[in-house]
Subunit: 206 residues, 2 copies
């Protein structure tokens, strides 16, 4: 709308969020304007916190928050002396790490690749955190490497790349199981998941 360039600019920038179209971006800006300056100020402060205090962990590339603002920082997992330092779980993104943490079973260490191999988008091995992964594999003596990339074509390709990289260093390399989601009904599961669930079937303990 002519006459409101600042509003239009905010709509454009908010529309970049995945799943937020121009219509909902506009609704968001009007919501802020209805709520008044305090609400917008709180959002600005929160975003400044994200921009200024969230960093990549110097060891595993997970998200980490710095209190001081100076030098390299470690994430809460790398800093935790109670974690099992014999197992390493490789994930694509910090959000994948958080999902695994939420499941609550795995108590080892992580390495965040920062994406997946995608030659068509120009994402080769150099664009991912693979050099630091290799030096960790060579130096930290892991007993098991769990390759927890996504079940997509690119995630699988990345998993194979990581597994080959790790082979000289780690005796046991595993991959997350495929199968039915808990509570999932066969009727609604896609066929490739069902195929993997049948391939991976296990003895029924009775």
């Amino acid at each position: 709308m002519k006459g409101l360039p600042s509003l239009e600019r905010a709509v454009v920038v908010l529309s970049r969020f995945p799943g937020v179209g121009p219509k909902s971006a506009r609704r968001m800006v009007h919501h802020l304007l209805r709520r008044g300056h305090g609400e917008t100020g709180e959002l600005i402060e929160a975003l400044e916190g994200v921009r200024d205090r969230i960093r990549g962990c110097a060891c595993c590339h997970n998200l980490a928050e710095e209190d001081s603002g100076a030098g390299e920082i470690l994430c809460w997992i790398c800093e935790d002396p109670l974690r099992d330092r014999s197992r390493l779980c490789v994930v694509e993104e910090p959000s994948d790490l958080l999902a695994i943490e939420k499941a609550g079973l795995f108590k080892g260490m992580y390495h965040v690749l920062g994406g997946r191999l995608s030659p068509l988008d120009g994402v080769g091995p150099d664009a991912l955190n693979l050099a630091s992964l290799e030096s960790r594999l060579a130096g930290e003596g892991f007993a098991e490497l769990i390759v927890a990339t996504n079940s997509t074509v690119e995630g699988e390709a990345t998993a194979h790349f990581v597994a080959r990289l790790a082979e000289p260093f780690v005796p046991c390399i595993t991959r997350l199981a495929h199968g039915l989601p808990m509570g999932g009904e066969l009727e609604y599961i896609d066929e490739s998941t069902l195929y993997q669930a049948i391939v991976g079937r296990r003895n029924f303990k009775i």
Copy 2:
């Protein structure tokens, strides 16, 4: 997640947007972190623009953008010498005004109430821009007042309040027509809309 208070804070604040739950707020923050500091900085700047430059129009309470930063400002409609100053359209929110402008037919002036009467939520006449409406009605000599509040119970009550307020000043007071949306199929229209469409039926010009 412990260890990332800035991220959690941003999730909380973003979750306040209507239609944005904690899950999508989290996805938004991770999107920003993936895109890097520049993207978050652009969003912060855009929000600062909204907070610091968007004001209420001193005449009609529409949104207006100030270039200078000093004193009272008028919106692009109140400033436009080509608008028809004999007609006034009363709406609840600036977003309603923008919707009517997009329709492109109305070329008169507006008055934005800043909400609707809602006694249960403590929104009485004093909370809306009704005093300034009355002084405009008394002073500007409008030929027609279009009451374009929403078709909700509260919007209708507000419309009646505005119409009674305007009666001494304006010869012609109108309300937007109810009826079938363009392209709407009878089967899918709610019954009260259909009722209003039948009540308001017009001669078929053949």
